[in-house]
């Protein structure tokens, strides 16, 4: 059962990601990305990270992707043109990606004993504990990050302002 669910969501994630690359109009790519995030949220749930799964849906899919869609509509983005100005990216792009992939895989494989398994429920989500940690041990990063968001807001407003 677990395996089936895993493969379904994994295939969905990969499929949506491929679709992101395949589509020419950015709005289609944005919607594909939302699909990826939803699939990932499910996977998080299967790994027992409930808080993260919910945060993923609310923050990522709900806020960030909405922002993306707003911008795409604001700028009236059209289909992609067929320019190609980077010789390096064109010829070396695919090999580089494949090599990168294999390298990452190799490293990850080394770190993990081959027989470790994931079972549902082995590591239940501890949202309260996360909250506690955030406000106790990781208080400083928490506060800093909130100021960061403030700065980001101000920056975004200033950058995107219309010149009058």
């Amino acid at each position: 059962m677990y395996q089936l669910l895993f493969f379904v969501f994994a295939a969905a994630a990969v499929g949506f990601a491929v679709n992101l690359l395949a589509q020419r109009h950015p709005i289609h790519s944005a919607l594909s990305l939302i699909g990826v995030m939803a699939s990932l949220a499910s996977l998080y749930l299967m790994l027992g990270a409930e808080f993260i799964a919910v945060a993923q849906v609310i923050v990522y899919a709900g806020a960030i992707m909405v922002l993306f869609v707003f911008v795409i509509m604001l700028l009236n983005a059209a289909e992609e043109e067929r320019t190609d100005r980077s010789r390096l990216a064109r010829w070396m792009g695919l090999p580089l990606v494949l090599v990168l992939l294999s390298a990452i895989t190799a490293i990850l494989y080394r770190q993990v004993p081959p027989d470790s398994m994931v079972r549902f429920g082995d590591f239940p989500g501890q949202t309260a504990e996360i909250g506690r940690r955030l406000f106790l041990q990781f208080l400083l990063p928490f506060e800093v990050v909130s100021i960061l968001i403030l700065v980001a807001i101000i920056g975004a407003v200033v950058l995107a302002r219309k010149e009058t």
Partner: protein
């Protein structure tokens, strides 16, 4: 039950797709979305390892990554808007004012 390595491989694949998207797509918003895809792939890795090591630190890190991704998306999109106003185009190949 699924071997942990499957999650990791999935994450690697998603990361690779994100890199490919960044290299091959020309619309700058799409490139930005590929970056978000890469971040998500990394988040998956963190959560997988958090499970594997039975520690919550991975999930807290993912939390921070998300926050930062949000801030970054806001600012990045603002920049894209500003650049669009200047260059009248969303094609990354047209944004080469830094050429030597």
């Amino acid at each position: 039950m699924v071997p942990l390595s499957y999650y990791l491989i999935l994450s690697a694949i998603l990361f690779g797709l994100g890199v490919a998207g960044f290299l091959f797509k020309r619309n700058i918003i799409t490139m930005f979305m590929s970056v978000e895809l890469m971040l998500n792939a990394v988040n998956l890795t963190f959560v997988a390892f958090s499970y594997h090591l039975r520690q919550l630190d991975g999930q807290i890190f993912v939390f921070f990554v998300m926050v930062i991704a949000a801030a970054e998306a806001a600012v990045g999109l603002a920049i894209i808007i500003a650049v669009f106003r200047n260059r009248e185009s969303l094609n990354a190949d047209r944004m080469d004012l830094m050429k030597l």
